[in-house]
Amino acid sequence: MNNTLWKDAFDRLISNKLSLFSSIYLLFIIILALITPFIAPYDYAYQDLNLGPSAPSALHWFGTDTLGRDLLTRMMYGSRVSLMVGFLATIVALTIGVIWGTVAGFAGGKVDTIMMRIVDVLYGIPFIIFVILLMVIFGRNLILLFMAIGAVEWLTMARIVRSQVMSLSKQEFILAAEAMGVSRTGIIYKHLIPNTIGPVIVYATLTVPQIMLLEAFLSFLGLGVQAPLSSWGLLIRDGAASMEEYWWLLIFPSLAFSLTLFSLNFIGDGLRDALDPRTSGS
């Protein structure tokens, strides 16, 4: 791959202050989530019922919830669930979408028509309802949750990849590869997928916050992650239930979650500008 292209893109991303700060914040959150089991001040399920809800203090930086559980600890463990669902579901969506789009775009003709018609039909289906249905019927299983979400979020990805592949496959270097006897699979893996990677990365970055939002939505409604486990959506739900007396239970998880959504969106926008200078400023 062209190294200067990626270096240029990286430089442009870094020169944008918003996406630079967003990247730093996100990196911080991700590292924190990864090392949580080693540095968390308390156990996420440990209840101190004698203490009950307490305001932020030196012992509990973000206070404790109504059952006396340390909020900072629960937020740190919650970030693991939220981020894991976001990233894993995006990987599922990415894999299905890229393969589907590449095959459709490269095959063309009838195969393409049928494959994209299937995408059109699936696109019309209100998937939030299906995700809720899945949760109700098969129980609140985290693995199933992100598999389900990933399996419904690949459609846009497939469309983007297909159009990208179609315009690429008309170009001369693909023709040259074909003339030199490179197999179809070879062309797909060696030439088409690497060249579609820019828009795919941008869209994937913007998919992660969408999925995290969906998880938070479900947990907020009581249909997602269940206590004593925690996720940001669940913490916001608990916080909203007792915000009248204990505002910190709502404010801290909300802040952490919004900032993460912000930074992912800004990084996505920044990446789009960095990878495709033509669209910048829109």
Partner: protein, 305 residues
Amino acid sequence: MFNLILRRIGIAIPVLLTVITLTFLMVHSAPGGPFDEEKAVSAEVLAKLNEQYNLDQPLYVQYFDYISGVLVGDFGPSFRFPTRSVTELISIGLPVTFELALYSILFALCVGVLAGVLGALRPNTALDYIPMSTAMIGICIPSIILGPILILVFGIWLEWVPVRGWGYMPGDKILPTLTLGTAYAAYCARLTRGGMLEVLNQDFIRTARAKGLSETRVVVVHALRGGLTPVIAFLGPAMAGLLAGSFVVETIFGIPGLGRFYVEAAFNRDYTMILGSSIFFSILIVSFNLISDLVAAALNPKLRD
């Protein structure tokens, strides 16, 4: 235009059939029957119940029975509340949800279009940057955060507005509308700005200005028609989002609408209620997508390929 209508309907019908079939199969493949929890039921009573709800028939018979029911607007009984039917709950909840969605979309259009037009007329000035960065915040703050925070600030701390209900006290419709509408206002602003910027650079706008038309007339009569196409195309998907958003907003504010019934049904595992309202929601969303596609095509000849 006629071809376009046919083609869109040609997609909408398989969408609906897929939805109905998938939902039906999913609900019927749920582990355990709907009466599993009532342990004390004798075999005889169980048989009666199964007969009453048609569960003794083979699956395909139930499926076709159900589809023919849906066609005439009968979505079946509720398992949890045997005296109520899904259709009845829909008729109670729909007007409320519809009102909420309508206010939210009106709020979104008024604020969003105004901000977007201002931004497009003065691009890269404070008049552009401030609304557009606010819009970014509006998009990023989800309703599950915005709702509780609005309640906390305006309902509890300032005590300006009631925090629960819908139409019980004056002003109790304000916070739900804001909670649901803000993100869409933000999207509308961005879409309007993008659409207007594109249109304002075109030749016919220069012609209109050269003719000496007033700026207001150029913007309102000539530019808005084309500039709003992305917004109108967005209204269909927005409707889907609004309905999904109503799950959260109606739960937060205790509004007796369709969204809350749906979440309650999901919570109670009221299978027929879930089945019925899922299908009903899907029909609504698919229809709105269809309508907004057609309106966008009617406004913009370029979309009628």
